[in-house]
Amino acid sequence: MASVTYEPIATTTLTGNAKNISFTSIPSTYTDLIIIMNYSINQPSSCWVRFNGNSATNYSFTELRGNGSSAYSTRGSNQTSSYFAFNVFPDTTPGNSIMNILNYSNTNTNKTFLTRTNAITGSYPGTAAYVGLWRQTAAINEITINMDGDAAYYYLSGSTFTIYGVKAS
């Protein structure tokens, strides 16, 4: 019998500027996680995600992007986090990213995740798709969203970040 799913787990709307956002104690009872982000940043930078506080070089990604005149692809290997807005990122006008983390709680597999990112304005506007890999079999119970640069780079007040859980029957 079909069961209703796609449940909100946690959400935050920034009431002040913030450099990073963390979601902790994520339950392992779902099949996939979906993170929906609608955000602005104060100056051009790349946005990245990290799992379970793991800052070792266990991350990689492959990017496909278009900027309105050309299409590109790049990758990053042996990274300390995985980018979801690398060559495409918004500025004070919100862009958005939707990240799907499949089988996030399976303790037998590394974690593969897919992200779509869109930014219409800013120094690097465009649309992009990413596949990311976290080479760890641990269940994901913590997600940190951050950006490159020092404290002078941050997400602007009003940015929203929401995690949903999807459970297969």
Partner: protein
């Protein structure tokens, strides 16, 4: 004020959950692997379907899954993709109505699980061809590909009531997972 926002907080909604997203069926691949997965008797009372796949191919080449609707292997499928391989972006289509099957072309290696999210829009319509889109990819830390794909199943008169995923070569490995969801309007 710049700082670290420690935790996003939300009161977990109490049941019933008012969602239009339903889990219809799923398959988790056991030890030994599996060469195909079929979802039969798909109800027609949803508006759209979403298929979410987490697949590792046992074969090191030509291991990608293909999908056939309603057991229909005739030349009624089309496919276009935009691909990024980490160095360049490219586009591909096999051309005219593809030979009986819809290929999710991935060039997947046997190292990591690939992820696929496929939306089948208006799947139950008996007056429209079926338009399908997929976001998919795999990364092997130094290799890998990400795709945006669009497909059609050119059968306007029949609702999709079954879906068969078949590995092009070999089996889908243990811990692979396929889940079918229905979205109501």
């Amino acid at each position: 004020m710049i700082g670290t926002l420690a935790t996003g907080a939300l009161s977990i909604p109490t049941p019933p959950i008012t969602s239009s997203f339903y889990s219809i069926a799923s398959v988790s691949v056991a030890s030994g692997g599996i060469s195909s997965i079929t979802f039969n008797s798909i109800p027609t009372d949803y508006k759209h379907l979403q298929l979410r796949l987490f697949i590792k191919a046992a074969a090191t080449t030509n291991g990608t899954p293909t999908i056939v609707y309603n057991g229909d292997t005739s030349s009624v499928y089309t496919y276009h993709e935009l691909q990024g391989n980490g160095a360049s972006a490219s586009a591909y289509s096999p051309g005219a109505n593809y030979g009986g099957q819809w290929y999710v072309l991935g060039g997947q290696s046997a190292d990591q699980y690939a992820a696929y999210i496929t939306d089948i829009l208006d799947y139950a319509s008996t007056s429209k061809n079926k338009t399908i889109r997929t976001l998919m990819g795999f990364d092997n830390n130094g290799s890998g590909r990400v795709y945006l794909a669009s497909q059609t199943y050119q059968n306007a008169s029949t609702a999709i009531t079954s879906l068969t995923l078949t590995m092009q070569s070999g089996n889908a490995s243990e811990f692979s997972h396929a889940a079918l969801y229905g979205i109501k309007d």
